[in-house]
């Protein structure tokens, strides 16, 4: 036995397991995406069992491409993921830098900051859409009503009344409406995932070299320059990690979309797959393959962008 045979033999079970783990679902999805396979069809009962005799070629793909929701789903997927990434990284850096300095109650503030991350996604969505964003009963509705009341009472006031009577009544925003439901999803997921970014950035900030900062102070760098030229480059790697992990997670968002609008005008690819999978497994599988392709494109872009940072 040569030197390498034994280690390879020992690795084999793990490699085989991983291969099965990945290849079986992927092959099945590919297989289903090329045949007619539905869960229930009274006229063509033979389609309800997967079989090569139901071969449809690229028919499922064509069907998905031509369905009215497909383009919207891709756009929405990218819009939601991109917005969440931008917001969580920006807020995460900001908050991490703010709480990195010692202040009284630091421990409690840190624990509180992390806590949103422990809320379940579905619970998070229910809380936000019903208690905060609801245009009548949520905080938003109460706040808008309060402001409107205040303006109405000021309109009758002497001297300044004319000024306030020019103001229109503020309309609360309905986040269940088709145009805004994606924004509601972005808000709630950002709230939930910012702590994750903060946590990672905070640990990284603590490893920042203090002598470098002192050198920068002596070199005449102000707070902003120190942040721009020292802290931000120092955070390059953790930002890359946060972006990668979150991109993977948020391309598969589902619970929030289901709860906010039931996909009404706000679908992403996973949600579209879910809808097709109610009956048309073939179309759902084809969408799944599109999702794999989209994820790969995103991954290539991300790796190009941040790979450099990680390699350094």
């Amino acid at each position: 036995m040569s030197n390498r045979t034994l280690p390879r033999l020992l690795q084999t079970p793990a490699v085989i397991l991983l291969l099965i783990w990945m290849l079986v679902p992927l092959s099945l999805t590919l297989y289903f995406s090329f045949i007619r396979y539905v869960l229930n069809n009274l006229r063509r009962p033979e389609w309800t069992t997967p079989s090569f005799s139901n071969w449809r070629g690229f028919g499922n793909y064509e069907f998905v491409l031509n369905s009215k929701d497909f383009l919207l789903a891709i756009q929405n997927s990218l819009f939601i993921v991109g917005s969440i990434l931008f917001l969580t990284v920006a807020l995460g850096v900001l908050i991490a830098v703010m709480i990195n300095k010692a202040f009284p109650g630091q421990g409690i503030v840190r624990v509180l900051l992390i806590s949103p991350f422990f809320v379940m996604p579905a619970v998070n969505a229910v809380l936000w859409i019903n208690m905060i964003l609801d245009p009548v009963l949520g905080l938003q509705g109460l706040a808008v009503a309060g402001i409107n009341d205040l303006i109405a009472s000021l309109q009758g006031a002497p001297v300044v009344g004319w000024f306030f009577s020019l103001w229109p009544e503020i309309e609360p925003i309905s986040f269940r409406a088709t145009q805004t439901s994606a924004i509601a999803v972005i808000i709630m997921v950002t709230w939930q995932w910012t702590p994750f970014a903060v946590l990672i950035f905070m640990t990284s900030l603590q490893s920042e070299d203090q002598q470098q900062k002192e050198a920068a102070v002596l070199d005449g760098a102000g707070t902003w320059s120190q942040f721009r030229f020292l802290t931000l480059p120092h955070l390059g790697r953790p930002i890359a990690i946060v972006v990668m992990i979150q991109a993977i997670f948020h391309l598969s968002l589902y619970a929030e979309i289901e709860i906010v609008s039931r996909g009404n005008g706000n679908k992403n690819l996973p949600y579209l797959i879910g809808e097709f999978a109610n009956n048309n497994i073939g179309a759902a599988s084809a969408t799944g393959i599109f999702a794999v392709i989209l994820a790969n494109i995103v991954a290539i872009f991300l790796l190009r962008m941040i790979g450099k940072t990680l390699m350094e």
Partner: protein, 334 residues
């Protein structure tokens, strides 16, 4: 110009006072070395001058202006840190240019100054590399380059050589001394290594527990140490210090004599001892002598070679005109 005066400067961290009231003047163009064992407050003192720490009380005057409340960047001082503190994400060129960039200098002027500094420090070939790709000595030079381009009133060095290996340290020591000769700018240099202090300084400031034990030129300190602490700290190998009846005979509570000021004979002398370890360096021989009844160990230094081995009997005679006598308080007598 770079005359730095400390007037009654103190520094406390909470309850503990690390620098009791301290007065010191460093003249323009002087190479001053703060030396002392670790924890003696020498780095704190340097950081006070740099402005990285606030004084608890007292005044720091730079070029006849009270700089106590002046922010660090406005004091016109440049500092070289022990860890080099280079900016890891920037190339060598950008590292050196950073203070100029912060000073909003024009790009052409920045380029000129960076090239100039790189030439002085032999860094021209490395300008586009990142600090991580450089050796310790090169990093040190980049840190010095970053200090030079600012044309500061004074350079502050915080143990800049302690992360280098011994051979490189000797080389960098020379380079820094040459740099001082060329720029004739005030330099304040902190080290715990008395060899660095002796070889580089115009003026050595020996510190212990925040107190200045003695200020003077290297040879002043070598020939006339003010107290036992300075006597033991300056010089290598260390001065032998004895007390007891033999010291009384010589007319002092404690008597010090340097290893190189001791005559050695195999046949006769003032004190008899037994050779422990003999270190033959070729040019010199260090002999560690035991069982003299004076101290645990007496070290002597002989120019050239002497044929002694472990266990031999040996006789020592201190050169009486070069004895250092100390009183009961450890202070030098007359």
């Amino acid at each position: 110009m770079g005359r730095i005066v400390l007037e009654d400067v103190t520094k406390s961290f909470g309850e503990s006072q690390v620098i009791p009231p301290l007065n010191l003047t460093i003249e323009d163009g002087e190479f001053a070395v703060f030396v002392g064992p670790s924890g003696c407050g020498k780095s704190t003192l340097l950081r006070l001058i740099a402005g990285l720490e606030d004084t608890t009380s007292g005044k720091i005057v730079i070029d006849n202006e009270d700089a106590t409340q002046v922010p660090p960047s406005k004091r016109g001082l440049a500092m070289v840190f022990q860890s080099y503190a280079l900016y890891p994400h920037m190339s060598v060129r950008k590292n050196i240019a950073f203070p100029l960039r912060m000073a909003k200098m024009s790009q052409s002027e920045i380029d000129k100054k960076v090239e100039g500094a790189a030439k002085i420090l032999n860094l021209a070939d490395y300008l586009e590399q990142k600090p991580g790709q450089l050796s310790g000595g090169q990093r040190q030079r980049v840190a010095i380059g970053r200090a030079i381009v600012r044309e500061p009133a004074a350079f502050l060095f915080d143990e800049p050589l302690s992360n280098l290996d011994a051979a490189l340290r000797v080389g960098m020591r020379l380079e820094i001394s040459e740099l001082h000769n060329r720029l004739s700018t005030t330099m304040i240099y902190v080290t715990h290594d008395q060899v660095e202090a002796m070889t580089m300084a115009d003026k050595i400031v020996v510190l212990r527990a925040g107190n200045i034990e003695q200020v003077g030129s290297p040879l002043d300190l070598y020939h006339t140490p003010r107290n036992i602490f300075v006597a033991g700290f300056i010089g290598s190998p260390k001065m032998n210090i004895i007390s007891g009846p033999e010291a009384d005979k010589l007319g002092a509570t404690s008597v010090g004599f340097r290893p190189e000021h001791t005559d050695v004979s195999k046949t006769e002398g003032m004190w008899k001892g037994r050779v422990g370890v003999a270190e033959h360096l070729g040019s010199d021989t260090f002999i560690h002598v035991h069982d003299t009844g004076l101290a645990d160990m007496i070290t002597v230094r002989i120019t050239g070679d002497i044929a002694v081995t472990h266990g031999d009997d040996i006789y020592l005679t201190p050169q009486l005109d070069k004895l250092h006598k100390f009183d009961a308080d450890g202070l030098r007598m007359a």
